[in-house]
Symmetry: C2
Subunit: 371 residues, 2 copies
């Protein structure tokens, strides 16, 4: 194995695949990155068996790839990243010089690292399932940022740690919930696909970090995995087994109160009060009337009161308490100028939407307080 390649392209590729490396894996080969060198490309693979990433570097003006000898090896991910990061030239030369001893050369510095035989790497099947749809990278990024924060981080109900995608009749409903709040986005599909899968939020957050702007992502689904294919990057993740709860009946349809407010006003007010915590949680109380919203937070030692003005309010005066973080994240995810909050009552779940756009819905359960 012997090749030269641009430092930047190799480092970018290693940074991408290293997101899938599992340093806790009992398989030592999975602490490494599998490097396969073919005549006209090199391929980097890493996996923790839940999520697997593969990057291909082909010859191009940027990559300046020159393969002198094909071959393959597994190199420790931390060391190889350190080495390539520290190489003192724009081009890197990588060569197996003796058995598994690999030499990495820059201008005046040479590194050496002992590799592991490539055949010790588990077989990762990157084959493409048949059921396929496409999203623009921006759409996929936005979907992830608008929903995944609402998934559960507790493993007691594994299915709630994922984002559920349910496609039927030309519509895909994407739902995340930790059972105290829920985020839902409706997307319209060109094909009449039908599927119902739950993707780990952790994997989707990794996908979001790797996405480039303005790329079309091919998303291929089986009942076991989902594969995201980009130009030179493949990411696949296992799906979460088990049936996702039917959430549509949790979403109320009738409301007695409707508040419209500038997103920035309410975000700043919640943010300002967020340092006040009771047992680690910031609880916010809103007293809403047609003329003002009084936002209060209080602990035994400190308190905060802030008054903001609604754009409009329909309904009787209402007093409602909630976890500040939940409403903050929900409103921020809408990325809207003005938002509409619809309430059913003091102890009923409420719904937050952008005033301009019905596709994303955020639901939050209020909290009972004894103030």
């Amino acid at each position: 194995m012997h090749f030269k390649v641009a430092k930047k392209q190799l480092l970018d590729g290693l940074n991408i695949v290293s997101r899938a490396v599992s340093l806790n894996s009992p398989l030592p080969s999975l602490h490494g990155i599998l490097l396969v060198v073919k005549e006209d490309y090199i391929q980097l693979t890493a996996s923790d068996l839940d999520i697997s990433i593969q990057v291909k570097i082909v010859n191009s003006e940027d990559s300046k790839l020159e393969v002198a000898e094909t071959g393959d090896i597994i190199l420790d991910s931390k060391y190889i990243l350190d080495m390539i990061r520290k190489i003192d030239s724009d081009e890197v030369e990588v060569e197996i010089i003796d058995g598994l001893l690999t030499k990495i050369s820059g201008a005046s510095v040479n590194f050496e690292i002992n590799g592991i035989k490539a055949e010790n790497y588990p077989l990762i099947d990157f084959s493409k399932p048949d059921n396929t749809f496409y999203l623009k990278s921006d759409e996929l990024k936005e979907l992830i940022s608008q929903t995944c924060f609402a998934t559960s981080d507790k493993e007691t109900r594994p299915v709630l740690t994922g984002l559920n995608l349910k496609a039927e009749n030309g519509e895909m409903k994407c739902v995340a919930t930790d059972s105290y709040r829920l985020a839902q986005k409706i997307m319209y599909m060109e094909d009449n696909d039908s599927f119902n899968i739950t993707i780990p939020a952790k994997s989707l957050n990794e996908v979001a970090k790797v996405l480039n702007n303005d790329e079309e992502i091919e998303i291929s689904i089986s009942d076991k995995k989902v594969l995201f294919s980009m130009e030179n990057v493949l990411i696949q993740t296992r799906l979460i087994e088990g049936s996702y709860p039917e959430t549509s009946r949790l979403i109320p349809q009738n409301f007695n109160y409707e508040l419209v407010v500038d997103a920035r006003d309410i975000l700043s007010a919640i943010d300002r009060a967020s340092f006040i915590k009771n047992e680690g949680v910031s609880i916010i109380k809103m007293d809403i009337s047609a003329s003002e919203i009084v936002i209060t937070s209080r602990s035994s030692e400190v308190g905060s009161v802030e008054t903001i003005t609604p754009v409009s309010y329909v309904g009787d005066n209402l007093s409602i308490s909630f976890k500040g973080q939940y409403v903050y994240e929900a409103i921020r995810a809408l990325n809207a100028f003005q938002i509409k909050i619809q309430f059913g009552g003091e102890m009923k779940p409420f719904i937050i939407k952008s005033v301009d756009n019905d596709e994303v819905l955020q639901l939050v359960l209020p909290i009972r307080t004894y103030a």
Copy 2:
């Protein structure tokens, strides 16, 4: 107590004094900041009883201080910093509204916090000792950055956790050592002061963070404490008791080898090899000849070899090993373009200086290796 002041000036003052707050103190009042409001100034004080900081805010165009009522109170440092940071206006109003309940008001937000009676704050004596000398803030900053890194972080010999200042005959010798390396700076004094004190490095590092450019610092010394007086800030720290070791006889005077090299070349080479560690320590070996310096680092899994060119070298070929971090920090502290390293032999301490300047000396002990 009731006053208005510019948010920026109050926040700057709180940020400075909060460096001395000790959240681990058994005295609850020391978790807070003492706020004393007089007719024409306000004063902030914090202390962990080792280091104490006092900031005075007087009326000025910037501070816009307006005192309506004098008074004093202790406010929890974390909460008051959070509140002032989050206030939504350029001016802040602070008022005791009921007993110890203090109200902090911005434009649309009001915070409340329960304080502690000022009389519960321990008496901190900021009186100025007689023995006084002056340094420019830049000189003091440079002294701290060139020496304090070489102090010990172990409490087994407390005196080594401080910087020793010994003044006599118009000269002040400043020494820091952890007994594996040593940093020494000679400064020339206008007065013929004579003292021998050891200041905790931890306190000096806090002093360095607070120093403004182009200020003259008055440094006043007793046998118990040192007080740094700036225009509106006082910092004082206790001294470390015990006699400081006589270090001058540790510094060799005769050398058999002298290397001159570009600081940047050797710093980059050491930095590049620093990810290679044996039991957490990066050991660097240098093989020096008149034509090249070969810098090697090796662990059981990885290795690095880099060749740089000396500016000049006098002496036989030499092979020497050392802790990379020690030499890196020593060279960086010199802040020089070219450095001179003088060796006595493979296992003798070596000395690093700037080629342009004799005032700062860095000494490092080599390490025996079995390679």
